[in-house]
Symmetry: D2
Subunit: 317 residues, 4 copies
């Protein structure tokens, strides 16, 4: 068979799935492209001001601190003997090896290897993480963005100064969990917001609880509650600055899934996402205190030019 025939046969198989919200739906979907200029890299973080922080300070009362991150037990990429010591899920989010530091060792040291977007690890997605029709927020070409094999625009560089604002917990299933098949809509967020006794202000951070943990699913394709598109519109309407959640998009192994949190909130609104947050302790604390607003403080490891980094956001009460 001539090469050209083979090529024609296979062409359809070369395309992976892509952001399904690009092409025709431009005018219907919320977008912040251009809102803060053509070179903007901070997206909805631009909505956070000193007033946002003062609003968060006003919520401080009793001194509790709750981490919104899942502790990660690293597996080893070397060491502990030259034989395998355990079985682990692969790839893992973090791997470690201790380094040789003399005999006797002057200090103990190590190296960490981090797979930045692993679903089992609480991490922040930078704005360049999800392209939209070959462009990244707010319209930079993929080519320019990735020139030199690193991220030149919309990277984690935008986060190095820290992210501090008022946070509100929207617990969608207080004291329980959503059904596995549940589709989350804007009305669910409204109901949860009402329970907090607060109104959202532009620049607030939102933490959403559905009561599920990705890492406890046996199979990546098991059912899992997820956001419908109108949730993203709700986030846009409220000018939320950043979202952390235990539920959001369904990450499926087959291509073609609709993932509006990534494909619309991140890619079009320029809203950083904190994936895989741990929210159970936050919900219990909020219930106990009878308060669902707090100071949200996130100091990401200040590595620039990356697509994401692990984070440990803290909720201060």
């Amino acid at each position: 068979m001539a090469d050209s025939d083979v090529r024609a046969d296979k062409k359809v198989q070369t395309m992976t799935d892509h952001n399904v919200y690009d092409s025709d739906q431009t005018d219907d979907l919320p977008s912040n492209w251009g809102r803060w200029g053509d070179d903007d890299e901070r997206g909805t973080l631009n909505l956070i001001t000193a007033e946002s922080r003062l609003r968060g300070y006003a919520e401080l009362a009793s001194g509790e601190v709750v981490s919104l991150a899942v502790p990660i037990s690293p597996s080893l990429f070397a060491g502990g003997g030259p034989w395998p010591r355990s079985q682990v899920l692969s790839p893992p989010p973090v791997q470690q090896t201790m380094t040789y530091t003399g005999s006797p060792p002057r200090a103990l040291s190590d190296v960490l290897l981090i797979y930045t977007h692993h679903v089992h690890m609480t991490h922040i997605d930078a704005l360049a993480h999800i392209p939209l029709d070959g462009l990244v927020y707010p319209g930079k070409s993929l080519f320019e963005t990735t020139r030199g094999g690193t991220i030149n625009h919309g990277s984690t560089s935008a986060f190095t100064g820290g992210i501090v604002t008022r946070g509100i917990l929207l617990d969608l299933a207080p004291g329980a969990r959503l059904d596995a098949e549940y589709v989350i809509h804007a009305a669910d967020l409204d109901a949860a917001l009402e329970r907090t006794g607060r109104s959202l202000e532009p620049g607030d951070a939102v933490v959403i609880r559905g009561g599920w943990r990705v890492r406890e699913r046996e199979d990546i394709d098991d059912p899992y509650p997820y956001f419908a598109l109108d949730v993203i519109q709700w986030l846009a309407d409220h000018d939320v600055s950043i979202i952390a959640s235990d539920v959001g998009d369904r990450v499926l192994s087959k291509p073609g899934a609709e993932i509006p949190l990534h494909d619309v909130a991140l890619a079009r609104l320029g809203m950083p996402l904190i994936d895989g947050a741990e929210v159970e302790e936050l919900a219990e604390t909020a219930d106990r205190l009878g308060r669902w607003a707090f100071l949200f403080v996130c100091g990401p490891m200040p590595v620039q030019n990356s697509t994401g980094v692990p984070v440990n956001p803290l909720a201060l009460f």
Copy 2:
């Protein structure tokens, strides 16, 4: 020459330097071994209470946030073309490569490789980082601590819940910098504390500024201000919970140096250290506001069982 003769000749060369504060000086040096029990892993973080945080909250006024970390520009361990693109200092603190994610890429992702104690990177030292006579705080054997090739005691696991307390900036050279040859004593800290108008309370975090940046030194052995031993006694007397600084110990390339911040404060007091902090912006902000006390918030990447991790501590005003 018989093997035994060769071995006798070389024995003296097999020993690297060690913690010079171990052997005979036990009774003279400050120590917290046993203060919180034989299995304690939190060291001076035990001194932080809700009251510590409320004390920090009381300092909040205007909404500024200052990062105490150096932004890190990663070098590449692969990518950007199969040829070398630049010259870099090696080893670097962080390396990156972007991963293949389909054609076209569904998302942009990467891997980060982190050398946890690199002097050019703001990082937190876990208590196990510095052994003392073959033991780590508060007396666990090196063997048990490193069994399995990871850190089983006194690791970064103690930090995953976050570190939040009141912080005080001790600027040793306001608007200037210390001389390269300066040796810092307790009296210098007293003077700086007085300028803050605050008294230190047990559990407070201390940030110290000498006006120097490790990463700007040409050669690791260039002179650099450092702490004398009495500074450590001062930290112990004030029951400081954690210290971040731009100066502290001199890291020298030749063994045998006295490094009391690591060898006494960390190893004996169980005080976590934040090495290589960036404090210039903090000092400028404090000067401008006329306030040197703030809320200190640190949410380290929650990787357990490691000797240290990069951090981005935030000072909230």
Copy 3:
């Protein structure tokens, strides 16, 4: 500006260069697609038989062994102290760190990090290394080939049994080097072959010397002798099984370059390439012995499913 307008503007910038030999030139260029079936993964290695090896054995006479690989001095990704110790070109081909193995260390061990196609490292390219219009030899889709984030077809798996055959050195500039601007044509190979006193047989390996070392160039875009397209036709006509060379394609930093060794020999002929071979010692040995044919023996590190691995091919005389 509406998103669609921005997208239209940028589209042209999203395309990187591609294999310029794909589209229209199919019928004019040499190709082995389909010659050994639609699922073939060995390409021109199929031409090597026991007879090829016997032909190589017939060349053995005096017992010399010459390595065709550049020794690699790894840089460190950690260790040797927590400060940078040197300046290195980045990314480097190989990085090392020694691992912690107890106190005192029971054994000394390390980890190596290898960037498989680094131009300063002698390595073998697997057939999947260069796609042709979204397909890899002999017509598998990129999608299928890279499913699961590894190489499922045309990978280094084809090399794990070793590559042993007769080898012929074609020294294009005996005792000298080609001009920097020289374009190498089939006639140059014919002349060099004549000097060897041998005829090429199907299955032979060819080693080509131009007298240049990639790693000695200051800048990747400095002039460097390279193959014209007719050299590839010559390799095809002679049914060469594998090629190792110090010259071949010009690797340029700007896209669009014509690289027929990779884009035609590898991608269309299914001919594995050994890039960045070290051939000076081979040439000197051949001259001294007055023999340019030898037994070519290559035992690549048997890692499967990769795009390439470092190699150390040996020429036995």
Copy 4:
């Protein structure tokens, strides 16, 4: 409890096991320290000459090639989606990730991470791999050897030119396998050698088959045939240059095991070891051909200054 009391209690726990053949047994055990000078780095490879290779050439007859390495299927350290795709033994010998190379990808490339002494991977041990009483062959201090965090003496640098000599297969259990509890003695090697119809000459390589595969054991401490000390004396008496085997030392998880192949042959004789060789196909080929001598050709990846590298030794018939 005062620190000094704690330290006394724990001292005995700080020592890991060490090379049990060091102290008093010097004069009874075979050693090559000093035989080739105090700065020698090649050990028993010094015994290989052109004559060794000619002896190997004389065995060539029919053109078969057998690899003595286990093919390695790498696991992923990133890629294939941001979720874990499989369960693997950890740490694994090799990990891979494919790198981002543009959209569409100009080429497919990857990075490999190699744990050099993993028992499931065929690898060569450099002479510095096993210290002897704080010294490495032929008497260099550990301190000097590891200065700068890399291997300065007795490293893989000695192997970059390739290792080519005659090889002899000693099949200890033709057509069968040794009992799990079998202890291998010199007499077993004599019997196997006799079956080959050859005498060993200084400089020959020896490949030993017991019929076991490390990687097929469920637990590292399951019984496994191993060498008694007199096997090492036999290797010394015959001036073997290098040994590859499927059996040899028992690698146990608890310290204190006697491992004479590593602790005496490698550390005292300066004999490089190829651990974890795959010998079944070699034995079958030898049986079929009725010949157990061959040309042994090993071209290790030419990475210098390491403790070991993966290898793919080839046996040519």
